[in-house]
């Protein structure tokens, strides 16, 4: 586990993901149980008027969750939510970021609220989120 940031404004070390391949999408479809063909079958994507398959939103959310568990451990994640702002095309390369927005004490437990983003290498923000972490 890396050093736990405690101060408002602290940035977690960015988590840079490899470009998302079709193999990754196939593996994630199987591992997650989300077999929606729009993520794995380019014929279906084309029939929906799309240029190509695109990544499951939950794949990006899983990457961003790694940032949380890497830094704080799974038992300390109290809540985690995201808004999917734009799709992640196949070959997109996500970077996961987190910054401490607030540190507070609720019922004797120190909690940090983090602002989270996932951004592609071309600057597109694909996901915006928030997590509440126990610091005790």
């Amino acid at each position: 586990m890396t050093t736990t940031p405690l101060t408002v404004g602290d940035h977690l070390t960015d988590l840079v993901i490899e470009p998302i391949s079709r193999t990754t999408l196939a593996l994630f479809a199987g591992a997650s149980g989300d077999h929606n063909p729009v993520h794995i079958d380019s014929d279906v994507a084309a029939s929906a008027g799309l240029d190509d398959v695109f990544a499951h939103g939950m794949l990006s959310m899983a990457y961003l969750a790694r940032l949380l568990t890497d830094n704080f451990g799974i038992d300390n994640v109290r809540s985690y939510r995201t808004r999917f702002a734009s799709i992640t095309p196949v070959h997109g390369q996500p970077t996961c970021r987190g910054v401490v927005r607030e540190v507070s004490e609720v019922d004797g437990e120190r909690l940090a609220t983090l602002d989270l983003t996932v951004e592609l290498s071309d600057g597109t923000t694909t996901m915006l989120g928030e997590a509440v972490i126990s610091l005790d």
Partner: protein
């Protein structure tokens, strides 16, 4: 057909998933997870877990374990190709581990549209319980249905 406010308050059964180490390792591989706590039983035990812990977003897969998880969309006349994931939230009540059997059920909490009906939204709440009926996670999901321009439904 499509999403109407009549759906608010309706519920549907979800899935049941017996969490196995192999499935969690598969999920770790698919998501580039290399933290041994999620892969190696001994490392998990050293970290204080009774078995491999379920990672934060894997709970979404419990609901997808239903025999035909997208059938309810079909029944509503919603084309799966037009569906986007809008928002997702997890509120964690306890850590789950390999060996647990988790079950989901879903209630529709809101339906609305934007851009004059061009985009339709359905908000659902999905509690997940373990084999003892204890609440593990509460999921909230916003699903977006867009118009498929020029595509036969």
């Amino acid at each position: 057909m499509g999403l109407t406010t009549d759906l608010i308050g309706t519920s549907r059964p979800g899935g049941t998933l017996l969490i196995t180490r192999s499935r969690l390792r598969f999920f770790a591989r698919a998501t580039g997870q290399s933290d041994p706590v999620f892969i190696d039983e001994a490392a998990a035990r050293r970290a204080g877990h009774r078995d491999l812990p379920v990672p934060p977003t894997f709970f979404f897969s419990v609901d997808l374990e239903a025999p035909d998880p997208f059938a309810y969309l079909d029944a509503l006349g919603v084309d799966l190709r037009a569906v986007l994931h809008g928002e997702q939230e997890f509120v964690y009540h306890r850590t789950a581990h390999a060996g647990d059997e988790l079950s989901s059920s879903t209630v529709v909490t809101d339906v609305y549209d934007k851009k004059g009906g061009e985009l339709q939204f359905m908000v659902t709440e999905t509690p997940i319980v373990d084999q003892d009926g204890k609440r593990v996670v509460t999921m909230r999901n916003t699903l977006v249905v867009r118009q498929l321009a020029g595509v036969g439904a």
